[in-house]
């Protein structure tokens, strides 16, 4: 037996050179892994933010009463929150 026959035997029953199903499975696995990691990161970030808010809520309440008393109009508060949310959108899009 020579090296050519050996090489042919080693490559017998090879998978196809173009296998879209396999490539798709790899990319799907990558996407799923990335999704799970992002989800975990967001859950952790959300949980941390909630915890921090709970801890600083009493202090925030005092500050809010002193500084934001003039903004007692609910519509103004809603508009400020909305503006803040819209401003963070490009950052979220860039991060993902």
């Amino acid at each position: 037996m020579d090296d050519i026959s050996l090489t042919a035997l080693l490559n017998a029953d090879a998978p196809p050179a173009q296998d879209m199903r396999f490539s798709l499975a790899v990319m799907t696995r990558i996407e799923q892994r990335q999704f799970r990691r992002n989800l975990l990161r967001n859950v952790l970030a959300g949980g941390t933010a909630t915890l921090v808010l709970v801890l600083v809520a009493p202090t925030l309440n005092l500050v809010w009463k002193d500084i934001a008393a003039p903004l007692s109009n609910n519509m103004i508060i809603a508009a400020l929150l909305l503006a803040g949310g819209v401003m963070t959108l490009p950052w979220i899009a860039q991060r993902d």
Partner: protein, 177 residues
Amino acid sequence: MSDPSAEQAWARDAQAGSAQAFGRLVRLHQQGLRMFLRRLSGNWAEADDLAQETFVTAWERIARFRQDGNFRAWLFGIGWRKYREGKRGWLRRMRREQHYNGMEQAVVNADPGLRLDIAAALAGLSAEQRAAVILCLGQEFSHAEAAEALDLPLGTVKSHVARGREKLIARLDESHG
């Protein structure tokens, strides 16, 4: 074999975050990597799963790939380490050994008229010998490339290939009378 400069460019784009470029690298190397892992493990389904995991790990660690490096050797190196890690699991090892024991028995009992069974002959080699032979003789890796992928000294790879080749040929000739 593809144009190496195109491959380098795809690797660079993948490092910059292009999933499309990485997809091209997957399409380019899937056949060779799957064949390497199939011959190494002897289990087609497990090898394809390992190959997918290898590509996922390559994507996650693409930033660590040196731009002047050999992408194929780097990728197959990840596959080789995954195979070795998987081999440490006792259940997998037991299954694989059972599989190979069956193969070895098949060689002993082989009818000379039967088709050559390369998988059974490969079972007689150590994992490192098997990997070196598959890469150098099957995938046309240079000894240096195989040494990089298997993280072995060049001399060891040369010796594995020479001895593995001899053993393979002897077993295959024996099974054919």
